[in-house]
């Protein structure tokens, strides 16, 4: 079939039934747009949640010491397992499955003083890796604790964006704060950086905006805590925590002499797992939104099928002529299916474009609000585009198929007599 003939047929039909065609196109456009917007809304929310979940860190596992619950190699049960600073290197050496290993000390209720201001806060002794795995990202002009700070046990502090306000007031610009000296339990520290604000949906010790972070080595040397509060690690690419959990217990078990099957000895929190559950919920929401949008589109597709039925009636004679000169049924069938797909995709393309434009426009609107920080903004992704296109294709095909089957089943002799 020559494309131009198909197109001409379509164009002629369009002229004859302009009103109906336009309405059908509008219905498809509207259906496509609503399914796109619904999915975009879900996608935006999912993205935002995903981002917010990343506030704490991406793909990390937090490890705490526990207590033995079974006797092992002559030790009784109920023995406390403490994490030691050297465990970080121990784990790094024994477990190549871990990409990053870091650790932290926590002290609650330390006295922080700047000039006349005195506040009581939590302080954390952290590793430089916190920049990457815990999203301790410095604002411009400052920096996060680095390797050199660790080695030289420097007295430097990296402040959460909220605690900074409490200590220096809300109006002091960051550049006036960097380099200032604060007292932590009467020891002077230099402020080297302030954390970029971030949205954090989960925590194990309070919000990071309240953190006062100093190098772990400095913490150990000055405050003298013998044990780590926790170790944080990130499994290497291709590993999940599940894959390496038993290895971790046996590696730690051989150092601390506990039964590697005793799950009370170490406590863990796998953020990846938690994230997966949350994302699964969003996937279900996406399916639901897609389903609702799909219903709108189905109604539009029924409109396409209807217009096709009408056009078959009007073109019975044309079908008869084509059959008389040797068109097989499949050609007639194809013609109507292609036409239905044509209408569907024309309306669909317009719908996709409008939805895309709308979401892009909405992104440009400069509103900052708690709701948007939480819900995100509608986002059209390639995946959504492909999903909608596939749905349109299927609907268009069926909208054409049934009328086409009717068209192809006419008796050529009867069709030629049709006036």
């Amino acid at each position: 079939m020559k494309p131009s003939i198909l197109f001409n047929v379509f164009a002629q039909d369009f002229k004859k039934q302009r009103k109906r065609m336009v309405l059908t196109l509008m219905a498809i456009l509207w259906g496509t747009m609503s399914i796109m917007l619904l999915l975009a809304y879900g996608e935006g929310m999912k993205d935002q949640f995903s981002k917010n979940l990343n506030g704490l860190g991406e793909g990390i596992v937090i490890l705490w010491g526990g207590q033995t619950s079974v006797p092992f190699q002559g030790y009784g049960k109920g023995r406390r397992i403490h994490l030691h600073p050297e465990d970080v290197d121990y784990l790094k050496g024994r477990m190549p499955e871990l990409e990053i290993v870091a650790a932290e000390y926590i002290r609650w209720g330390a006295e922080i003083k700047y000039k006349d201001k005195l506040i009581s806060e939590r302080i954390n002794g952290v590793y430089p890796e916190y920049k990457e795995i815990r999203n301790f990202i410095p604002e411009m002009g400052g920096r996060m604790i680095n390797e050199l700070d660790m080695q030289s046990r420097r007295r430097v502090a990296f402040l959460g964006n909220e605690v900074k306000n409490r200590l220096f007031g809300y109006d002091t610009p960051d550049e006036n704060i960097i380099g200032e000296t604060i007292q932590i339990n009467s020891t002077p520290y230099t402020v080297i950086g302030i954390m970029q604000p971030k949205i954090q949906m989960s925590s194990y010790q309070g919000s990071d905006e309240d953190v006062i972070a100093i190098p772990a080595t400095t913490f150990h040397a000055i405050l003298g805590d013998p044990y780590l509060d926790n170790i944080i690690f990130k499994p290497a690419e291709g590993f999940t925590f599940e894959d390496i959990e038993s290895r971790l217990f046996s590696v730690m078990g051989s150092k601390y002499k506990f039964d590697p099957n005793d799950d009370q000895t170490l406590h863990t929190w796998d953020i990846m797992e938690e994230r997966k559950v949350t994302m699964d919920i969003f996937q279900v929401i996406q399916y639901f939104l897609g389903f609702v949008g799909g219903l709108t589109l189905i109604i539009a597709a029924v409109g396409v099928a209807n217009i096709m039925y009408v056009s078959i009636k009007e073109r019975t004679r044309e079908i008869g002529i084509k059959m008389a000169i040797g068109a097989r049924r499949i050609y007639i069938l194809m013609q109507f299916i292609v036409e239905a797909l044509g209408i569907t995709f024309l309306g669909g393309t317009l719908g996709i474009c409008s939805a895309y434009l709308l979401t892009e426009l909405f992104k440009m609107v400069p509103i900052e609000s708690e709701v948007l920080n939480f819900m995100g903004r509608p986002t059209v992704s390639l995946e959504i585009g492909i999903t909608v296109t596939v749905i349109l294709g299927i609907l268009g095909f069926f909208a054409g198929l049934f009328p086409a089957m009717k068209a192809a089943s006419v008796n050529p002799n009867e069709a030629l007599r049709y006036e």
């Binding site: 001409n8 002629q12 008389a324 040797g326 097989r328 002799n413 030629l416």
Partner: protein, 234 residues
């Protein structure tokens, strides 16, 4: 070429069954030039549609080129209409939105010819019917005689042996009609088998043989009487 014995055709309209052909025997040899005449409603078009495989008989036996038509599938019938038969209708039956070129090209498309082959063939055919300069015209931009010539070109597209024409001059003035008949004469001389339904006894007389139909049966009665009747109807 065509062997029909005891051919019947019944039409069903609602509960009423009407038998348009009631047992017709016809034999047509290759390169015959035949006219079918008879009063309106006698079953001429019905017979011709059966010959062209547009429909299947409800009784009797029909062999086209030694093939038993009743046993063929819809696709086989479509292929026969495409390659072995060329139809010319009273109402031209051109596709209104397509140009003369596109109308003639369509059967070639169905036959699966390449673009180059199609172009050559369409050009040749339209030149042959004297419309080389009207290839881009749509039916609305042509006269009746021109439209019928496009229809003939279309019928000839895949070089069919059998040309069936159902009152091809019925919608034309005498002069255009005569030109169309001349084309049929030429086609006959070129070796085509031609069957024409007509009410015009002048046309019928030029054929080799006249088949008369009356009330769905072959009419073997008085030829002169029949002739007068037909002339009155025309």
């Amino acid at each position: 070429m065509i062997e029909m014995t005891g051919i019947r055709k019944a039409y069903q309209t609602g509960k009423i069954t009407f038998e348009a052909l009631r047992g017709v025997d016809i034999s047509i040899k290759e390169n015959e030039y035949i006219a079918i005449v008879g009063p309106s409603g006698s079953g001429k078009s019905t017979l011709m549609n059966l010959m062209g495989c547009l429909d299947k008989p409800t009784g009797g036996e029909f062999y086209l080129d030694t093939e038993r038509v009743e046993t063929l599938s819809p696709n086989q019938l479509a292929d026969i209409r495409n390659r072995k038969v060329g139809f010319v209708f009273q109402a031209f039956n051109l596709l209104p939105y397509a140009t003369a070129y596109e109308n003639v090209e369509l059967p070639l498309l169905y036959a699966g010819l390449s673009g180059k082959e199609r172009k050559a063939r369409v050009t040749e055919l339209l030149n042959r019917v004297g419309l080389g300069d009207k290839m881009a015209n749509k039916p609305t931009e042509m006269s009746g005689g021109e439209m019928q010539r496009v229809a003939i070109a279309r019928a000839l597209a895949n070089k069919p042996k059998l040309i069936l024409a159902d009152e091809p001059t019925g919608n034309l003035d005498t002069k255009s009609g005569r030109a169309i008949v001349e084309i049929f004469n030429d086609l006959w001389k070129d070796g085509h088998t031609i069957v024409i339904i007509t009410h015009d006894m002048h046309i019928a007389k030029r054929c080799q043989r006249i088949i008369r139909l009356k009330d769905g049966l072959l009419d073997t009665g008085n030829e002169e009487e029949e002739q007068e009747q037909s002339l009155k109807v025309a």
